[in-house]
């Protein structure tokens, strides 16, 4: 099983290395790898004992693999989910507009769709769950892409960059092309000629080019500082998911299993801590009960989780408490856990959780340990 884990990590490391070698279309340089958000579709698969849906900065793409380790054993992943931002596809051909318009649309553009699947034995040994989730971030402080105060810090870097390009890069490129710099408006021979301009844009996009190198280095420092200050920023997310269960892996005869609603508030506390308060309401059917009464009835569950995190963006520990009411059995449950979240390499996060799940109605408690791998595109990943 260690080989499987190493395999996952190798893919990510390769994506990192390839991403740094290939130029052309890049994914956002303002994308910051704050922790990978919990995905509604993944949460609905019941892969984690906590019902807290952690809010985070919207990402174009993220994936989660679950249950690599549980009950003291490494396992083949039982569950997998991906989350995509539709704005990635919808905005590609839109004409550009004023900067303030993008900030105004930030809430609508935070809408994301997730799809997850997991193995289950609820109907038979080969049954599978399919989850479809929707999420929107109503409050999302700490997003560099829409933070005007942070943009004001980028502007001086760009001033330094454009002056350096004019003074050094453009002159070097002119020398390469044999352009006489004593001629009137010699720069226009480069920027006014479509073929020459394309060549110059490519020359400037090289991360080893002196002006570009200086800018990206300054920019990286600014982003690191921003992450330090904003990993625990205030946020409010609302999400919805629908879970279906099928008796086979082709998802024939998909039956409604459960609908979930999440509301999570993240409150910044100082520079090194954050409090997450959540609500999870479920409407579910008991698919294991095949009696005719059960097929038409549904029941409600509710959970109120709270998590206190402390640390930095890359390494943080947390303590969590959760109360749940299970409507079908009228049981009360409490879940207490300690955990850690570590960003081992760019784009890969490891979540470790250990805690007690206690059913106070049945007076049963059990220890639960959980190890998840969460993946998103590395900050420097390039699509092509």
């Amino acid at each position: 099983m260690k080989q499987i884990l190493l395999g996952y990590l190798s893919i990510l490391v390769m994506a990192n290395v390839q991403g740094q070698n290939i130029d052309s279309v890049t994914l956002s340089k303002l994308r910051l790898n704050f922790t990978v958000p919990d995905m509604p579709a993944f949460k609905s698969l019941n892969t984690e004992p906590s019902n807290l849906l952690k809010p985070s900065t919207p990402m174009a793409f993220a994936a989660t693999i679950s249950e690599l380790y549980q009950d003291r054993k490494f396992l083949l992943p039982k569950a997998f989910a991906v989350e995509l931002s539709p704005s990635l596809l919808l905005n590609a051909n839109k004409p550009p507009t004023q900067l303030k318009e993008y900030a105004r649309r930030a809430v609508a553009n935070s809408f994301r769709i997730s799809l997850g699947t997991s193995a289950d034995t609820i109907l038979n040994s080969s049954s599978r769950n399919l989850g479809l989730g929707f999420r929107i971030s109503l409050i999302n402080k700490g997003d560099l892409a829409t933070d005007t105060n942070a943009h004001k810090k980028i502007s001086p870097l760009l001033e330094k960059f454009r002056k350096n390009v004019r003074r050094v890069s453009l002159a070097k490129f002119a020398d390469l092309k044999g352009i006489d710099k004593t001629e009137i408006d010699w720069e226009f021979k480069i920027t006014g000629d479509p073929v020459m301009k394309k060549e110059f844009d490519e020359y400037l996009a090289d991360e080893e080019e002196s002006s570009q190198k200086m800018f990206l280095e300054d920019f990286r420092k600014l982003k690191e500082e921003y992450k330090k200050e904003n990993w625990n920023a205030t946020k409010l997310d609302i999400a919805l998911s629908f879970l279906g269960t099928s008796s086979d892996s082709l998802f024939d005869n998909l039956k409604f299993n459960r609908a979930d609603l999440w509301i999570t508030w993240a409150q910044k506390i100082g520079k090194k801590a954050q409090l997450l308060l959540g609500l999870n309401a479920q409407n579910a059917k008991n698919l294991a009960d095949t009696s005719s009464n059960a097929s038409n009835s549904s029941f409600s569950n509710i959970s109120i989780p709270a998590r206190f995190l402390m640390g930095t963006n890359r390494v943080k520990g947390f303590v969590e408490a959760q109360y749940s009411y299970l409507g079908e059995l009228k049981h009360n449950k409490f879940f207490f856990s300690l955990g850690a979240e570590v960003n081992i390499i760019d784009g890969v996060w490891v979540n470790l959780t250990g805690g007690f799940d206690e059913n106070t109605s049945l007076k049963i408690s059990k220890f639960i340990a959980n190890f998840n791998l969460k993946i998103t595109l590395p900050e420097n990943f390039k699509l092509f």
């Binding site: 004023q98 900067l99 553009n109 001033e159 408006d185 226009f188 996009a205 002006s211 920019f219």
Partner: protein, 124 residues
């Protein structure tokens, strides 16, 4: 090079910079002397404040005959994967009329990018 004809006996000439796209842009508007690469800065700033990025050219207008207005911009895309397109325009106005413009359209790549637009002013 785009040439803009203006009325030497008309009102003040204005140069207006327009930045469209999900990007942070820092710019400078320069005026280059006739038949020379000698230039003076008219305005510098960024696209982050609500005010228009506009500056007046020296008076009387006729002294601008043969000069070139240059817009130099350094910019970086905020979310080039989500919002990839940009447009930078340099416009010349006189007596509330747009006399002409030059434009640079392209794709944001998430790195530092550079644009240089030229407009030649000719008295008519």
């Amino acid at each position: 090079m785009v040439t803009v004809f203006f009325n030497p006996n008309g009102g003040t000439l204005f140069a207006n910079a327009v930045f469209l796209g999900d990007m942070v842009a820092n710019y400078e508007v320069l005026l280059r002397e006739k038949n020379s690469n000698s230039e003076t800065s008219l305005l510098s700033g960024d696209n982050l404040n609500p005010e228009d990025d506009v500056t007046s050219l020296p008076m009387p207008p006729v002294i601008n005959d043969g000069r070139r207005v240059i817009l130099e911009t350094g910019f970086v895309g905020n979310k080039p994967d989500d919002n990839p397109n940009y447009e930078i325009r340099l416009e010349i106005f006189q007596d509330n009329q747009k006399l002409g413009f030059d434009v640079d359209r392209g794709t944001l790549n998430g790195k530092g990018q550079f644009s240089l637009l030229f407009i030649k002013l000719v008295a008519q």
